[in-house]
Symmetry: C2
Subunit: 319 residues, 2 copies
């Protein structure tokens, strides 16, 4: 699908990438090596106070600025749109949990109107980040991958047998809402013991607070962990254990080879990965579960944009 | 992969199907409509007392009998092998949990030696049953399917975006070892709250026994449920709830459209399906989770054989 004119160097074949989340809309041009074109990256805030029109204007603005930064001689292959979920991919609609004014909002059409005459492909942000890990990140060379973000929420995406799995509605990869045995934390989704309800940054902080720890943020918890605070250590261990159990369940179901984890809270301490791996190692009967590698994301903060660009440059991986 | 000579009616293009499990090895010829050829089905016991040579002889025996039943003019396209897992599909090895004498046993080579000169394809039994549901069972017309068996254990398989998902080791679909929130039943695999450890027939009976119910089998429990015994009802409700929670997690991860459930204990009472659906309906925030249909298998007891035959007749669905 990404036809290349022979006289144009591949770095002149560009995708316009846009990523839309709870705090910002961001767009950039990304070349076919997965590199963000210098000077092409633009950001506008979104947030819970923005109206639907504000959000639409933010999207149009960053798209317009990125398009205007194109140099002569480059080819725009298409637009890749990554959005916070849930989404309805067939109809191009989004209902980002953290942007309550958008429910079944026709985001794909907004982008088509803003950038006419090129193909527009939209997927959930978790799928995009997974494509980015597979393309230029920590999961290069693997065909069975889960990308995962551990931050204010927990999300992710799947690549199975070399193909990105969107699912019929576009919502495959919601690892945050896989339940975890031995936990009964209620989740806003209606589940019980969903890993997001246990192990996101805010939920980990809240658990530590309930044990008497005084501190407000993931950064506070990281500092307390580094200083050897027993409650902070217990809180991070508990969250790592829950994440590991969720990954073990996902691997039992999908036979994953590697899980790449990014997001702010994934960097609370490198020990988080040890706790995750220890929980997975408990599945002693199943070598196909304990085999799964768990590694930190190796993407920069442009990972979501590179992932959106993969919807264009790596379109052969989409169903 | 299934080349057809134009002069041969499709019902004369046959797959040799074999299914190997904890209690029996069974083989049959299956035509390209998914129908078992009359008089071609043969069975031999396996079981925990059989030696490795006994098991191999059972496999050779049922294969030989089924091949010998072929009528003149039919074409043998290939052999499809379904085996209890875990397996290592790339090397053709099986380690069925309930056949302890086979660990990394070269089953595919055994079949190749027994039936030379045709292609042999091997997959886990849960994947085969899922292919059968998709081909001629309760999941016809769906592209995102989980087949599931609830019996002495709980297993299954996945079809996502129209393709059977084997996974790199062949073990995708182990739904029995997806954990369930709010439960802490220990699982032999090392997990905690795995749905198999809660909701298999024997585990459901064991839970009812611990509450004081006197009875030994799933059939006893079915009778007690039908008679209105409060403990039997509580036991079945508990297992249905756990199965529903596991399906909800699997759907959060894989965006399933339909789950078809077979196996002896799935027929303990039709109410089991109501309990399963009620648990899934609790995921109120996610329409893409609550949308998943849960239906009884519509396959006969030849389902596993039809699934093994699908490895030949529906080879285009395999990666």
């Amino acid at each position: 699908m990404t036809t290349t004119s022979p006289e144009v160097p591949t770095t002149q074949n560009l995708a316009l990438a846009i990523d839309i989340g709870g705090t910002k809309a961001e767009a950039a041009l990304v070349d076919s090596n997965g590199t963000v074109v210098s000077g092409s990256r633009f950001r506008r805030p979104t947030g819970p106070l923005a109206s639907s029109d504000d959000l639409a204007e933010a999207v149009r603005s960053v798209l317009g600025d990125a398009v205007a930064s194109r140099t002569p001689g480059s080819t725009l292959l298409g637009v890749g749109v990554g959005s916070a979920g849930p989404i309805t991919v067939a109809d191009g609609l989004v209902s980002p949990l953290n942007l309550a004014v958008w429910r079944d909002y026709p985001l794909r059409q907004l982008v088509i109107d803003a950038v006419p005459d090129v193909p527009v492909t939209m997927r959930m942000d978790g799928e995009c980040i997974t494509l980015a890990e597979h393309w230029v990140g920590a999961a290069v060379g693997y065909d069975n991958v889960m990308g995962m973000i551990v931050s204010t929420g927990i999300g992710g995406g799947l690549i199975l047998e070399g193909a990105a799995v969107a699912g019929p509605t576009g919502n495959a990869g919601h690892i945050g809402h896989v339940e975890v045995g031995g936990f009964d934390d209620p989740c806003l989704c209606g589940g019980i013991g969903c890993v997001e309800a246990i192990a996101s940054g805010p939920k980990t902080v809240a658990w530590a607070n309930r044990q008497g720890w005084v501190g407000a943020t993931g950064e506070d918890l990281a500092a307390a962990y580094a200083a050897g605070d027993a409650t902070a250590i217990a809180a991070v261990e508990r969250s790592g254990r829950a994440i590991g159990q969720a990954i073990a369940s996902a691997t039992a179901l999908a036979d994953l080879e590697i899980v790449a984890i990014g997001g702010g809270f994934s960097r609370v301490t490198p020990d988080l990965f040890r706790f995750i791996r220890e929980a997975i190692a408990k599945r002693v009967a199943f070598g196909f579960v304990t085999k799964v590698k768990v590694v930190p994301s190796s993407l920069s903060d442009a990972g979501p944009l590179i992932g959106s660009a993969a919807l264009v440059h790596r379109a052969d991986m989409l169903h």
